[in-house]
Structures are given as structure tokens and as C-alpha cells.
Symmetry: C2
Subunit: 335 residues, 2 copies
DNA sequence: CTTCGCTAGTACTACGTATAACGTCGTTGA
DNA sequence: TCAACGACGTTATACGTAGTACTAGCGAAG
């Protein structure tokens, strides 16, 4: 039978015939030169025997910190932030720190207090800029904050980690220009966020640099249906665009549907590009030409930045390289 | 300037000119008849003024419990468990309890200790059966455990909450039989899990009840590519099946790809059904006929079951209704 | 005028941990 | 011979909270 009450360090001490202080010293690996190796081993054995787990609440209380960060991501509806979290969790496991995942319930329901729902002492926050609602509550808490995919240098973030969105959009533009496209419509996410502003800016800039006409723009909510409707509007214009540059793979999936709904083909009649390289990109047909973002590395770098802050170093802003992944949704324009 | 150290209940007491005990009484709403309304209000005002937040570590330590549950889900790669969590979070917010999300990094990396990574005192676990790795570590912790999508009545789960998978698969079978299909192949998830065994059993049973020939079976890893390869094998058989029943929408998406890769059409030549009604189901073309599971309700009911356990009631096993969603991927067989 | 009861609080303690400060031996150098 | 020292542990305390047991004051009942 398991005991009703979980064993404490005092129970371990009693079992090993030492004081509670010694147990703490041994299990925290602070015993070298202060406890004999034999005793240390017997303490560890007793702890193992009893199935001792340190009470994290007591530890946090005593230490005044918890080596734990809150990871704030948008509502979990895709695979992108799952990958970000996986990267963060990998680093966290290596460096022995805790992560509490907080999926901001944007548009799903009222946001519970991130702190209360975390139920733990937090001493850092790693947040995606997409989780705007939750950030307000967090900003005035005085915790070190590392932002993912957010404008560098803006307080109160101690550091930012960004994929090189601008370079990605330039690669998309160059790819389409190289195929011969000139009539391009930008299916833009209807979200007021720096990351999307950067996409628009980089696209315009690259087209201008090539002497191509500027892209038209259709705004769309960040859903498949949003992409579909925006693309339908875009394709109704004359002359018809030969390429649709979408801010996101989800929008691109919708755009592909719109193209076919009008009796046209992707990519023969209209090329479509996505962004993010979600699982979705290789699920739909044709598979999407898109920009692959280093999601895992984003989470990992963010976590390292937070560790840097804790250790008193200045992490600075990081920009991670991205990659164009040409697939079946782009081809030379017709004619 | 914010203070270096966050304010404690003692700071609030000093500001309000009362004792720390009074602060605790007032803020925990245990003051009725023990503290005058005027004093109570002044305490609340002082707390607001200072931006007081109770130290959760201290509270957990004192109370010996945290009203916090660990939610164990498989690695976050789709939208299903995001919805489960949203449902759980909704109930948690209503009933004032904390949830810590633990995405089991199956196949992604080594599993960190669920307890250590939660960084909080836990007194319950809500777990999906799909997160097998993490469950081993959890099972011997002596915490109340509510399982989602798992065989009822198996220890150590205190309760289970399941969508009515068997009914769902019977609906699929009836739907296809009604359309006239007789040559059916089951594209089965190659995962040793109760939930998939139930699917196979219900399909076989329903076909037999209708006097139809039994389904053939092709096993597939739970990926788009897995579904594609399995469906290719299935479609190579003679006579060729007229319908592919897939254990999951992801497999169904792959199956659709396989059909088209062989120069056939969905649903004119081959019908395809999915399961789960993921976002994916309405993203691919044609949209998938599938079984919609009440994901949010699954999370909500699981959380309620955990609350029941905490309150000393016996929650019992729950089965939630499912719904067939006919869409474009099924039609009458050719000929 | 005592005593009871009620209101409106306060003092104090325990939760489990980490660590600073403090013994207590046996050994060693002068 | 004795102080000094190192090796090995222990005692005691604080972290912030919740709540139990107490007290003080005061009006009313006896």
C-alpha cells in the first residue's frame, strides 16, 4: 500500500538515520566534502525506496523562484506551436527547468488568469505575439519576457526571437518573378500584427526592386474559409492575377479551393503560395509551395534566451533563417 | 517603480492597518460575520492598490493541495486535443481550478518528468490514452486519474470519458451500406490502442449484421503518408474496394491522395471516410465524410469527473454521443 | 453587578524545503 | 600538551499562506 501522505525529506531522513538537512544536501548534490560517500549513498537509497519526490511548492517557497516559465501560445489549432513547444521542451529538459504551457483561448472563451491557471510560481514568460489577449495580463507582472515572432526592441520584452519573415517573403516573390509572374495578389491575413506587416512590406519591396507592378491586396480572416473568400474576390478582378501570395498555409489552402471552384487549376492557371510550412501544406493537393519556418528552433532559442536573462546575461534579439520549399502549387503563368 | 519583491499578504495587512490573518480571511471570502464590511473593503482596496497576488507555492504548501490537474495529451500536432483542452479549460475556469497541460513528446524527444515539468503541486490527472509514454510515470503516483478515450473499468483510472466510438463506426458502416457499397477496406491505424480496436470491432459487427462481406484490412501508421501507402495497397487488390473506411481523418486525407494518384476519383470511383472531424476534414478536397467527436465536451466532462473525485463522489464512466457528418467524399459505388 | 454571548478582530502555528551557522569528533603540527 | 583544523553532520530558521484558538470589548440578560 502506498502511504496516504507522500513521503517528505524528513521521512527519508528517518529511514536513512540522518537529519533532514543531510537529505537535502545529498539530493541537491551539495554534499561533496560535507557528507561521507557511504552516507550519501544510503540517503539516495532511502529516497528511492520511499519513492520520495521533493514537494515543489515547498521548494519554490523556500527558494523564491521556480526555474519555471510560462509558454504563451495562441489557441492550439494547428501544428506550428506544437513544434515550437517541442523545441522549448527539449531545451527545458536539458537545462532542468519547468515549462507551463498556456494556450490563450482567443476566440474560444474568456481568458482565465494565466497565473492562476498555471498554478505554479513563474519566473519568466515565453510568449508568441499571436496570443495578444493573454499578454496584457502578463505585461505588468514584472517577469522577464521573451517574445517570439514580434517586433524587436519593443519593451517590455527583454528579447525577441524571430524567423526571418522578410527574407521568406522575398524568396516567395523572387520564386514567382522567376517563373514569369507579374500579376500577383497578396492574400493578407486580416490581423493587426507586426509579423504580417513585415510580409506585406517585404513583398512590396521585392516586387518594386524587380520593376514589377505592385501586388494587389485582399484581406482575409485567418481561416480556410477566409482564404477561400478572399481568393474568390481576388480572382474576380480583371486582369486576373496569375499568382496568389498567401500570408499563411491555411489561407493558401482556402485559396486553392477558390481557384478550383472557379473551374481553374492550381498551378496551371493560378499559382498559390503559402507560409509557415504547416502539416497542412503537404496534406492538400497540390502540395503547397511555402516558406518553412524553424518552429522547433524558435522555441529552443526562446528558452535559451530566457535562461540567459536568468543568468544575468543580455540575450539580444535573434533572427533565424527560413527556407523556401517549392512544391506543386506554383508554376509558370499560362500563356 | 514596481517593488523588487512582490507584495505579500503581510504587506497588504500593513497597508490596510490590519493583521495578516484578516487579509487572508477577507481575500478568501471567509470573513462574513468576522470582519466588518468597512474593514473588508479597505483590505480589498489595499490589495488592489499593491497589485497583490497570493503566492501559489505558499498556498499549495499550506493547503496540501492545489486544485490543479495535469492534462496529458499526445504531442500537439493537430487540432483535436486543442479542442479537448479548450473544453477542460472552460470548466476549470468556472470551477476555479488550475490546469497544467503536458503534451507528451512521443516520438519527438525523451519525455521529461511530467511532475518536474509541471512545476506545481498536482492533485489529479486527466489523460488521453494516446499519451502512453507519460502514463507509466504517472500511474504510480497515487493521484486520481481520469482517462479520456480509454477502456472503461480498467485500473488505475478512477473514471473514463469516451466518445461513442463504436456507434460512430456503425454509422459509417450503415452510411456506406446504404449507398450500396459491399467491397470495403478498413484502413486501420497501426496503433495498439483500445480505441482503434473498438473501431475494427464495430465495423465488422455492423457489416455482419447486414449480411455484407467482411472488410479487408490494411494497417497504416497514423500519418498522411501512412494512409496514402495503405490505401495504395488496398486499391491494388482485385476486386478493387469501392470504399475505404479510415480510422482517422489524417489517414483519410492520405487515402484520397492515393485514389487520385491511381487516376481514380473520390467519390465517383472510390468513397473514403474519415474519423474525428478534424479541421483537416473540411480543408482537403473533397471534404471528408467523417464522424464528429465532441472534443470540447470530452475535456469538459473529464474535468468534471476529476472534480467529482475530489469531492468524494464516484463519477462513473461516461460515454458521449457522436455524429456522422456526410460530406463530399462518399457516394454510391460505380456501376 | 456578574455572566453570558456576540462581534470584531489578532496571535500563532504548521506546511516541506534549503541553507547559514554551529557543534563534535579525531588528527596533526609545534 | 594543546591549539588548530578538517571532515562530517546537526540545529535552527525563514519562505508566505490558511486557519485554529484565542482575546478584548460591549450590550443585554439574569
Amino acid at each position: 500500500m502506498a502511504q496516504a501522505r507522500p513521503p517528505t525529506s524528513r521521512d527519508v531522513a528517518e529511514a536513512a538515520g540522518v537529519s533532514q538537512a543531510t537529505v537535502s544536501l545529498v539530493l541537491r548534490d551539495r554534499w561533496h566534502g560535507r557528507v561521507s560517500p557511504a552516507r550519501a549513498e544510503s540517503v539516495r537509497a532511502a529516497a528511492r525506496e520511499l519513492g520520495y519526490r521533493p514537494n515543489l511548492a515547498a521548494r519554490s517557497l523556500r527558494l523564491g523562484r521556480a526555474r519555471t516559465a510560462l509558454v504563451v501560445v495562441p489557441a492550439l489549432t494547428g501544428d506550428f506551436f506544437g513544434r515550437v513547444y517541442a523545441g522549448a521542451a527539449r531545451v527545458a529538459a536539458e537545462r532542468d527547468l519547468g515549462l507551463v504551457l498556456y494556450p490563450s483561448p482567443e476566440g474560444i472563451g474568456p481568458a482565465p488568469d494565466p497565473f492562476a491557471s498555471a498554478s505554479a510560481t513563474l519566473d519568466g514568460v515565453l510568449a508568441s505575439s499571436m496570443a495578444a489577449e493573454a499578454l496584457a495580463a502578463l505585461s505588468d507582472a514584472g517577469l522577464p519576457l521573451v517574445m517570439l515572432d514580434s517586433e524587436p526592441g519593443r519593451a517590455p520584452a527583454a528579447a525577441t526571437v524571430n524567423p526571418d519573415i522578410a527574407a521568406g517573403m522575398r524568396l516567395v516573390a523572387a520564386h514567382l518573378l522567376g517563373l514569369g509572374h507579374r500579376a500577383i495578389t497578396h492574400v493578407a491575413a486580416d490581423v493587426d500584427s507586426w509579423t504580417f506587416a513585415v510580409r506585406a512590406g517585404a513583398l512590396a519591396e521585392r516586387l518594386a526592386a524587380a520593376g514589377a507592378p505592385p501586388a494587389r491586396t485582399e484581406r482575409a480572416p485567418l481561416t480556410v474559409r477566409g482564404g477561400l473568400l478572399a481568393a474568390e474576390r481576388a480572382l474576380a478582378a480583371r486582369p486576373r492575377p496569375t499568382a496568389l501570395v498567401c500570408d499563411d498555409d491555411v489561407l493558401a489552402a482556402g485559396a486553392c479551393k477558390a481557384v478550383r471552384r472557379l473551374g481553374l487549376r492550381v498551378p496551371e492557371d493560378v499559382s498559390v503560395t503559402g507560409f509557415d510550412d504547416l502539416a497542412l501544406a503537404t496534406t492538400v493537393e497540390p502540395e503547397l509551395t511555402t516558406v518553412s519556418l524553424p518552429a522547433e528552433e524558435l522555441g529552443a532559442a526562446g528558452t535559451r534566451a530566457l535562461l540567459a536573462v536568468w543568468e544575468g546575461r543580455e540575450p539580444g534579439d535573434a533572427v533565424l533563417p527560413v527556407r523556401l520549399v517549392p512544391r506543386g502549387s506554383t508554376a509558370a503563368p499560362p500563356g
